[in-house]
């Protein structure tokens, strides 16, 4: 459902999600993802953390998960957030919602 990888050189956290991200799962993921990202932030310096959400295995999202995306993007700064490897249906969902550009979706 969720795993992540940290690239120290690029100071980038890549979060991989999979399958159906329904409301319950999204609500469970929220504190976990937040904790992962906060644990890699360098609060003492100005170095910005980059966060990448990998959607290769994501089949379905709910508004709770979209809220998670928006919250994380706002926290790290929209320039340092992106969503990659989306399938066309998920891409369309974000496009209709008017969020694909804001969340730097590929």
């Amino acid at each position: 459902m969720f795993k992540y990888d940290y690239d120290k050189a690029l100071h980038t956290v890549t979060c991989q999600y999979s399958h159906r991200l329904d409301t319950i799962i999204s609500n469970e993921l929220y504190p976990i993802v937040t904790q992962v990202i906060m644990s890699h932030m360098e609060f003492e310096s100005d170095r910005k953390l980059t966060v990448v959400f990998d959607f290769e295995k994501v089949e379905f999202v709910t508004s709770a998960f979209i809220r998670l995306c928006i919250t994380i993007a706002k926290k790290v700064g929209e320039d340092h957030f992106s969503i990659v490897k989306t399938n066309p249906q998920i891409k369309k969902t974000f496009k209709i919602a008017g969020l694909d550009e804001q969340l730097n979706m590929d």
């Binding site: 329904d22 409301t23 379905f60 999202v61 709910t62 508004s63 709770a64 979209i66 249906q89 998920i90 369309k92 969902t93 974000f94 496009k95 209709i96 919602a97 008017g98």
Partner: protein, 476 residues
């Protein structure tokens, strides 16, 4: 005004997101949501009906239960097998595949006369077509509409529908309604209401499916079964005290059957008003200044109307019948009156009767519904060809007939299209399939005649149409 804009932005923003998420749902998931919403609405049919009757002071709660049943059970029956997601039609020979897509956020305007049933209906067809809906309730039915929305929304969410797929306006104000209707994020206005509101919807710049007013003429032919006709008319006109816009407004017959027909109405507990009593009823039933029916008598019981008019009627009277000579603004009871009051016309002959029907039809009810009781098929067809009505009810109570599903196989609907006559885009009973965009995938299937024809000939004006067609249609 700025606050209205903020509310519209906020609710439509949520609706757009819900609509985007809805795109992910397949037919099975969609149908499950519809089923759960139907069951929730159906299981609350009595409570919601009582609330609506109490809050609005209009109609009969037992009849509003039936309306809620129509809006849930019958609407569900009429849409449950319909394909509204993905590929809905495929024809290999034609090379055509049709794909259904949701249209996006719908603004559902609800009439005071049928509040909870119309909310249930519009939510069900919106869910079936995977569209978010924002309900705009009438001020005097706000709480019952809120309850209906809450029941449906909870059921939808429990079934896995996107958050905010069903919303309701937080307050009632024309300015707020206007703000929603003109909003660029809105996909469609589903307008059921008064003429002014429907006109505003069509003028908004957004697509709209509206309804026109009704003024249903009922022609009773010599070939009709008169007791049957009267029984059906009463059943329809007394239903919820006449609040359905497809209910009968005027009875028209030839003089050869007038006495018999009149006696049958009396036998079945209808009361014929005298000229003096007609004047009294007109004064309370119609606002001459505004040229509309009076809101005070809409959906009121016949005894109350009589009391308001200051006339004595026998106990147990079911309908007030007002014999009329002419129609028009000077004759208020020739207009649409959503109460148990009927105009009654007797004409010299068949031709005069049909001409009178067309006049009534065009007096505020163009495109809506007309009704005939007859067993002469030729006359049924003649009448139908002359009327301008989306639905012509034959030997059927028009209120229950027009909404479909009980007396015929019309799609069950509480939004009855009135065609161009009613300034509508369709004469059909509006249902889920009107709320989808259909994409047509067109595989190459060449027109052999076109490709076998020398199109250079089109450039030569000396070649006649006959010569071109001879060559174009040539079949070796």
């Amino acid at each position: 005004m700025a606050d209205f804009k903020r509310i519209a932005d906020e609710l439509l923003g949520k609706a757009v997101l819900a609509g985007a998420l809805f795109h992910q749902f397949d037919q099975k998931q969609t149908d499950f949501i519809v089923k759960e919403v139907f069951e929730a609405g159906f299981n609350n049919r009595v409570k919601l009906a009582k609330m609506a009757a109490w809050e609005t002071g209009i109609g009969v709660w037992q009849h509003k239960v039936i309306k809620n049943v129509v809006a849930t059970q019958l609407v569900y029956e009429s849409i449950k097998y319909e394909k509204t997601v993905g590929v809905i039609y495929e024809n290999q020979n034609e090379g055509i595949v049709e794909i259904a897509q949701p249209i996006g956020p719908i603004f559902g305007i609800i009439p005071l006369t049928n509040p909870t049933s119309t909310v249930l209906f519009k939510i069900l067809i919106a869910m079936k077509s995977r569209n978010p809906i924002i309900i705009s309730p009438p001020r005097k039915a706000l709480e019952s509409c809120r309850q209906t929305v809450e029941i449906c929304y909870n059921a939808a969410i429990e079934a896995g529908a996107p958050e905010d797929c069903i919303q309701i306006l937080p307050e009632i104000d024309h300015g707020l309604t206007h703000e929603f209707m003109i909003h660029p994020k809105l996909a469609l206005i589903l307008a059921t209401g008064g003429t002014g509101l429907v006109h505003a919807a069509y003028s908004s710049g957004n697509p709209a499916l509206g309804v026109g007013p009704g003024n249903v003429p009922v022609f009773i032919d010599q070939s009709a079964d008169i007791p049957f006709a009267v029984r059906n008319i009463i059943q329809s006109k007394t239903f919820d005290n006449g609040t359905i816009c497809a209910s009968e407004q005027a009875i028209i017959c030839e003089k050869s059957i007038t006495v018999q027909l009149r006696q049958e109405f009396i036998n079945q507990e209808c009361y014929f008003l005298s000229p003096a009593e007609i004047a009294k009823v007109e004064s309370i039933a119609y606002n001459k200044e505004k040229q509309v029916m009076s809101a005070d008598i809409v959906g009121q019981p016949v005894q109350k109307i009589a009391k308001m008019a200051g006339i004595e009627i026998p106990e147990g009277t079911r309908i007030l019948v007002a014999p009329q000579e002419k129609i028009g603004d000077a004759y208020p009871l020739s207009q649409e009156i959503l109460a148990p009051i009927l105009a009654f016309y007797s004409t010299d002959d068949y031709s005069s009767a049909i001409k009178l029907c067309i006049n009534l039809n065009y007096l505020g009810g163009i495109g809506h519904t007309a009704c005939i009781y007859a067993n002469d098929n030729k006359r049924i067809i003649e009448f139908s060809k002359i009327m301008n009505a989306g639905r012509i009810m034959v030997n059927t109570p028009s209120a229950q007939g027009a909404i479909g599903g009980i007396f015929n196989i019309l799609p069950t609907s509480l939004t009855l299209g009135c065609g161009s006559g009613g300034k509508n885009i369709t004469t059909e009973n509006v249902t889920a399939r009107h709320l989808i965009n259909i994409q047509r995938v067109c595989r190459r299937r060449e027109n052999k005649k076109w490709f076998g024809f020398d199109t250079e000939k089109y450039l030569d004006e000396t070649i006649s149409l006959d010569e071109i067609l001879k060559d174009y249609d040539k079949n070796f």
